[in-house]
Subunit: 82 residues, 2 copies
């Protein structure tokens, strides 16, 4: 069994409207020192696999088919044996 | 200037419907070895502050007032001087 931690970010060249909106809210609240906010996803799950390469294959498939949008997002992941 | 990286997770006791939905999709696609999927947020931004404690204060305020929902989410962050 492995614990997988996946980080999904929008590609740097792609606008992040959610980040822009939150930052506008920040400046309205007087937080004017925060800049370049980008909001991505942080996903954790357990993979039931015997070895690391099988777990990696499963995580890649899960990311490519469901978790990330391969057109505008990049993902990276870490696996930890549990 | 500091680069801040914030991870926001739902509290473990709170149901994550997005995670449940994605996992259902996974099992329909034949990925039956992934379990306990929890979807959080991964947020990156730049804080314009002279010292680390001022930056920490700003990040805490940003998280509590805008980024995280203090009722059902926890956050943690890292600061890196840039």
């Amino acid at each position: 069994m492995f614990k997988a931690t996946v980080i999904i970010r929008r590609r740097p060249s792609i606008l992040d409207p959610q980040g822009v909106a939150v930052e506008k809210g920040a400046s309205l609240l007087g937080l004017s020192n925060v800049k370049e906010t980008r909001i991505g996803k942080f996903i954790e799950f357990v993979v039931d696999a015997n070895d690391k390469s099988a777990a990696e294959k499963e995580v890649n498939e899960y990311c490519n088919k469901l978790l990330a949008n391969p057109i505008m997002e990049d993902y990276e992941f870490k696996l930890e044996k549990i």
